[in-house]
């Protein structure tokens, strides 16, 4: 650790260095943070989950009434406390599992496996939005505007879903595309502002979240706009049946699965994003700009247009999340809370998935499972779902600060990364 520190010192001093190397834009703190975060290993993700589970257990234990009661006579009968602790933790994670994957207490396989499909349903928009955030991370941008983009996308997809009468497959496609376009435009505004004026995307996306929220809220209480006709509630009409994503039950004819077509779309999106970054020339340019915009510019890559395109793509993925909300999950009309915090959870998902497409996919599955299981845990064990949120937050916290993780687990600083430190060490060596 001491080495890290001294090397860091030189990093800190380096930028203060040349009075003549002014004009060039130095790598911002946020891009350095991004690079550090993306270059740390999968091991850290795994360890972060482990730590989060441990902290979660601790919270379950200290908030459990049985444990509290037993702890009152701990010195008389310590065994009781220990038993209560194990019961609390066991009960919590058992119910989490039953709510998220498989519940053997129910009748019939179809009912037993339903929790898994619930997890996948919760995961669907998380993965889509997570991919959206991850895409911008790889280009060196932060898209905090998931909420706004999802709201706008939901409004667009929703409006198409109840305003038209079309045959099912066409209507589904049309409504979905409307959502994608809505999200893409909302995020595209940010890209254009960033490219043209240099406005920081974090500020702009956050501000556009408010704009989108109040815009949608206003439209939802305006008769003739998004408000359901004949009501005074701030709620939209339901989607026409022809625009609603078919569910797994529709396909199999059994059970009451809510898992819908959106999940297939999300798998396709994951493959597409993988292709984009690993095989396409556009993705190559995206990555080049994300890693070193200066070199990309010198090599004739138009950095502004990459920023715009990346935001548009990211917004479209957010749009997929929005579409799947209104066409798959909440098809009976939505309110201004239709984004369900997905835009922010997506940041967590992208972080946990290291911004790699399949990493995001599995991180989304994990978070979907935590969400589905969390509700069951609350219902059956009386454990507040907030504990799940705490666990999610701890995962982000630990992943966002790799040095902290390395300190906790005494891991060596990774070879070849983190980048800024390494460069300065090299420079110092190569003089």
């Amino acid at each position: 650790m001491s080495d890290d520190k001294t090397v860091d010192d030189t990093t800190v001093q380096a930028p203060a260095a040349g009075p003549q190397q002014t004009a060039e834009v130095p790598p911002s703190a946020s891009s350095r943070f991004l690079r550090e975060m993306l270059s740390s290993s999968w091991l850290i993700s795994l360890l972060a989950i482990v730590v989060a589970i441990l902290v979660g257990s601790l919270l379950v234990v200290v908030t459990d009434p049985a444990v509290q009661k037993a702890a009152g006579y701990f010195f008389a009968r310590p065994g009781d406390t220990i038993a209560a602790i194990f019961e609390a933790i066991g009960g919590a994670y058992a119910s989490l599992f039953q709510g998220a994957v498989f519940n053997p207490k129910r009748d019939g396989f179809v009912n037993q496996i339903k929790p898994l499909t619930e997890s996948l349903t919760f995961a669907t928009p998380l993965i889509a939005a997570g991919l959206g955030v991850a895409l911008t991370f790889r280009v060196g941008l932060f898209n905090i505007g998931g909420r706004g983009q999802i709201l706008i996308a939901a409004a667009c997809a929703g409006w198409v879903s109840w305003s038209f009468d079309l045959p099912a497959p066409v209507h589904i496609l049309f409504a979905t595309v409307a959502g994608l376009v809505g999200g893409a435009i909302w995020a595209g505004i940010v890209g254009v502002l960033k490219a043209r004026t240099g406005a920081h995307e974090v500020i702009v996306t956050i501000m556009l979240n408010y704009v989108a929220f109040y815009l949608v809220a206003f439209l939802l209480k305006t008769p003739g706009a998004l408000q359901a006709p004949g009501t005074t509630q701030n709620k939209s009409p339901g989607a026409n049946a022809s625009a609603v994503y078919p569910t797994l039950s529709d396909l199999l004819g059994v059970g009451a699965f809510r898992l819908h077509l959106g999940f297939i779309f999300v798998i396709l999106a994951t493959i597409l994003v993988w292709y984009l970054f690993n095989r396409s020339s556009l993705g190559f340019r995206f990555r080049a700009v994300g890693e070193n915009p200066h070199a990309a510019r010198t090599a004739g890559i138009s950095v502004p247009s990459v920023y715009i395109l990346a935001m548009v793509f990211s917004g479209a993925l957010m749009g997929l999340a929005g579409s799947s909300q209104v066409l798959g999950t909440t098809t009976t009309g939505f309110s201004d809370g239709v984004d369900a915090g997905i835009g922010f959870d997506a940041i967590t998902v992208a972080l946990l998935g290291r911004s790699r497409p399949w990493g995001v996919f599995f991180a989304g599955l994990l978070f979907g499972a935590l969400k589905a299981g969390g509700y069951t845990m609350q219902a059956s064990q009386g454990i507040p779902i907030d504990i799940v949120f705490v666990m999610q937050s701890i995962i982000v916290l630990l992943i966002a600060a790799p040095p902290l993780m390395r300190m906790i687990f005494r891991l060596p600083a990774p070879e070849g990364s983190p980048k800024p430190v390494r460069i300065s060490a090299q420079k110092a060596v190569t003089k």
């Binding site: 030189t10 095989r279 020339s281 890693e291 990309a296 004739g300 190569t430």
Partner: protein, 503 residues
């Protein structure tokens, strides 16, 4: 003060940057630390200055063992450092910069600027510096800024002064002045460690020379040793200091710059009314001290300077106002000044870096999809052709040495069909062996009939490569002279003197 380093060993992971280095600097001695880039000179000095902690070995000042846990300790012990990149706050005055870090206050936290001013004056007078304590640092010429650094070190009673590559940013005349200052300091009993890789300076000023190679002391040399001897000690083999190059066989005017001006973000002219012509098959070297508009000139050619006027034509086509993409497509090969920043994506593999400026269309992209097989074959070929020392084409560029990084950039730029080649500081920070290679390739490009522009602040490089030399000063061209113009004339031109120089 006598400085002694005993058995200093510093490792970075598997890399041994300093391997049991012993060094003795006697009081009142100028001790030169000579070595290639990457030899471990700066690491050693960072150990001395408390920035790094050595795994083994000890530092002795006047025969007492010292323990530094940071630069503060080193300063208190009497070690001062003049960094290659100045550690000055540009918007502060000289006095403020000098007091920074050990500000004296008179009660109630009010800065005692008067004391700082007096100190600056006192030291200035002692060495005849003539520095106004109230001048704002960013308005001072580079050579004067360096003196502020020296004053800063001396104001803390430094009795061992380390100069880390101090001449990189100076004109030849300023360098001479610095040498005089170093001698003066030496007279007053200060021990000086002078880090450099420029042989001429070493021989001029050093009392003793220690040569470091690959982290080890390979020997001592006397200042009377010849350049060739010193160079071969540094590199470990005999080196060609001058490349053999046939006389140029220039063709027609190919690249014409007419009255080019560039305005920067501060609304200042950084390039003003520059006109020159490069013929096919000739190397025009652009000499000048760093920061006299060379960077902006090359950036204007590339098309990344937003506010330009005038005209740049290549084979009759106007380049000014085109996007970088279209300038490159017109046949420009461009080696940027700062290869780690502008030339390479450190996190990309060698192969990916080799296609960085060809991410659209053939040969590496078909239907928007990367042609990985083509790229791999191409990368393997270039790895061999340019002798890039790496584990393979999938090694990240950031893990290569400077010389190999530059070879990657050259391999990329020279493998397109070029009609103009611009290399900015092509050998900055490279070892002698790589310099040889880079120079050979540049001359080769010339001999293929390509007009070549080499921008360099190193006079040695300019005179080695140039068929003609344009000297830049404060954004303008002072004159364009033949390639065999003597150094002292070039030196005067670099300082802005036009009289009798422009031939």
């Amino acid at each position: 003060m006598k400085l002694e380093l005993r058995g200093i060993t510093k490792r970075f992971g598997a890399l041994v940057a300093n391997d049991h280095i012993d060094l003795v600097v006697e009081p009142g001695e100028i001790h030169c630390l000579l070595g290639e880039n990457g030899a471990g000179k700066s690491t050693l000095m960072n150990v001395l200055y408390g920035l790094y902690r050595a795994e083994e070995g000890e530092i002795l000042l006047d025969d007492e063992v010292q323990r530094f846990s940071g630069p503060g300790d080193a300063m208190r012990a009497g070690i001062g450092m003049v960094h290659q990149h100045f550690m000055l706050v540009p918007v502060f005055t000289v006095a403020e910069n000098v007091m920074l870090g050990h500000e004296q206050t008179k009660g109630a936290g009010v800065l005692d600027l008067a004391a700082a001013r007096a100190k600056v004056r006192e030291i200035s007078n002692r060495f005849g510096f003539d520095i106004d304590p109230d001048a704002v640092v960013e308005n001072l010429p580079v050579g004067v800024q360096q003196r502020v650094e020296i004053i800063k070190a001396l104001s803390r009673d430094a009795r061992v002064l380390v100069f880390d590559e101090p001449t990189a940013v100076l004109t030849p005349q300023e360098t001479d002045e610095l040498m005089a200052i170093m001698r003066q300091l030496k007279e007053s009993g200060t021990s000086i460690v002078f880090i450099t890789h420029k042989l001429r300076e070493v021989r001029e000023v050093a009392d003793r020379i220690t040569v470091i190679r690959l982290g080890k002391v390979v020997g001592e040399a006397s200042p009377t040793a010849s350049n060739t001897e010193l160079a071969s000690m540094m590199v470990g083999r005999a080196v060609e200091l001058t490349i053999s190059k046939a006389p140029a066989n220039p063709g027609a005017d190919a690249f014409v710059v007419t009255e080019l001006s560039v305005i920067d973000q501060l609304n200042q002219y950084v390039v003003k009314d520059v006109s020159f012509t490069v013929r096919a098959g000739e190397i025009l070297a652009i000499a000048g001290v760093q920061g006299n508009g060379q960077t902006e000139l090359t950036e204007a050619i590339l098309g990344i300077q937003p506010r330009t006027s005038g005209s740049i034509t290549l084979d009759g086509t106007e380049l000014l106002g085109r996007s970088v993409r279209r300038v490159l497509d017109a046949g420009l090969g461009f080696v940027p000044e700062d290869r780690t920043e502008d030339g390479l994506v450190a996190e990309f593999t060698i192969a990916e870096n080799l296609m960085l400026d060809r991410s659209k269309g053939a040969p590496f992209v078909k239907a928007g999809t990367l042609q990985l097989k083509t790229l791999e074959a191409f990368a393997e070929e270039k790895l061999a052709e340019f002798d890039i020392r790496a584990q393979g084409i999938h090694t990240h560029a950031g893990r290569l040495s400077g010389g190999n990084q530059q070879k990657v950039v050259l391999a990329r730029e020279l493998s397109r069909d070029l009609r103009l080649f611009v290399a900015s500081q092509p050998t900055r920070g490279l070892d002698v062996g790589s310099i040889e290679f880079v120079h050979t390739r540049i001359v080769q490009a010339r001999d293929e009939g390509i007009p070549v522009i080499v921008v360099s602040t190193e006079l040695d490089e300019v005179t080695a490569l140039a068929d003609r030399i344009a000297v830049m000063y404060r954004g303008g061209i002072v004159g364009i002279v033949p390639g065999d113009t003597p150094r002292d004339v070039l030196g005067l031109m670099m300082a802005g003197e036009t009289t009798g120089a422009a031939a």
